[in-house]
Symmetry: C2
Subunit: 215 residues, 2 copies
DNA sequence: TATGATAATATGACCAGTCGTACAATAGCA
DNA sequence: TGCTATTGTACGACTGGTCATATTATCATA
């Protein structure tokens, strides 16, 4: 039974999967309006009508692609259990940067790109992007809250505010990296976030004061 | 003579100006790919061919619009002569936020939007956006350097790195504001930038701690 | 000041191609 | 058989862009 289900599943979703993957790449590289169904189905090497067989509209296809992207982002948010919250956060961002590097720093973040591109008219898409950002910020907020509980972070700001600021800053860095095509903006983000903003309370604000930091 | 020159000037650029203004609005609201020449010339109430009379292509029109946007941004970068560099910077960002508020927080920053939307293929446009970002960062860098000279800012980081980070963070906030449609991300940016990051050297990093460890 | 040559602008009709989408016919499996 | 997935074909609207032609502005010269 399991075998049949698996076979059936792989077979059935073959065309669908090809479209989804091609759409992922195209939307990521060229944006929503910059990508045509034509582009997608040519890359996927499937007939055009197949697209509307599996996805009722371009917008719906984009949403499924975004959903996939969000899931990838969230999965990489997991880190080693033993790490401290702040370390965990740093690892997460570094993983993310590594991912962007593999993309050649050319595509930026798909969610951010959509946020910039979507106008008022694409209601459903917009709502999806809003939720994606919110849940993303919430994940960071949880980590920061844990860090404050453990005393790793001064409670000068609410985790929610801080998480939102950090997430937005990161997106700004990603956006800039799309232009510079290197990791300089990312490193500037890391430095300012982890060496200044998220410094433990008891450590001096001034990094010139020789503190040994691992890695 | 002066009268004739004036009359001539206003008359001559009438159509061109109408197209430019309509394009500005459309590109800002709907992005590059989301805006068609049709959209623009309908809003400007001019025949389509008139557009190609003044601008040789859509891309060229977009560049002229961006140029206009950059100039507006740069002009508002001027502030009162007597203000301190840091104050000047804050005033600038607050002016910018005020501007975004007038746009209903719906459009974001046109340069940032283009950065997110433009793909590798639109070479000229991309190059323009890169330059726009760079000159923008340079302006901030100059202010920060002056602040360091005046001792208003600790010299822990190079003005260039810091300016870049701040500018990128701001763009991240703008992007997010386009989704939340309020100034919350902007305020989070202001708080973290001016109350934490750019705090004068002699003031404690932790505002809760009543300057106990000072000296 | 008037004239005429030249250039810039205006404009409606039109192009070839692409857009997202629909649908009837078919193929393959249950 | 009946069902669902597949696909060739075509739709009407729209895309960025062109063209011939008409109007107007510019400016040196008479």
């Amino acid at each position: 039974m399991a075998k049949r289900a698996l076979t059936s599943a792989t077979k059935k979703s073959d065309t669908r999967e090809k479209i989804l993957q091609a759409a992922f790449k195209a939307f990521h590289e060229k944006g929503y309006n910059g990508t045509s169904i034509q582009d997608i189905i040519e890359a996927a090497k499937v007939p055009k009508a197949s697209s509307y067989n599996h996805f009722k509209s371009k917008q719906q296809l984009a949403i499924e692609v975004l959903d996939l992207y969000v899931k990838i982002v969230q999965e990489s948010m997991q880190g080693p259990e033993e790490a401290s919250p702040i370390e965990l956060l740093r690892i997460y961002f570094e993983q993310s940067i590594h991912q962007h590097k593999e993309w050649g720093f050319e595509t930026g973040c798909m969610i951010g790109n959509f946020a910039a591109e979507i106008s008022n008219s694409e209601k459903v898409l917009r709502a999806f992007v809003v939720r994606a950002f919110d849940s993303w910020a919430k994940a960071i907020e949880d980590v920061l809250a844990k860090a404050q509980d453990k005393g790793e972070l001064p409670a000068t700001q609410s985790p929610k505010e801080l998480a939102s600021y950090i997430l937005n800053s990161y997106h700004g860095a990603v956006l800039r990296g799309k232009l510079t095509r290197d990791r300089i903006p990312y490193d500037q983000f890391l430095t300012n976030t982890f060496d200044y903003l998220l410094k433990p309370a008891e450590v001096s604000h001034n990094p010139r004061a020789k503190l040994k930091k691992k890695r």
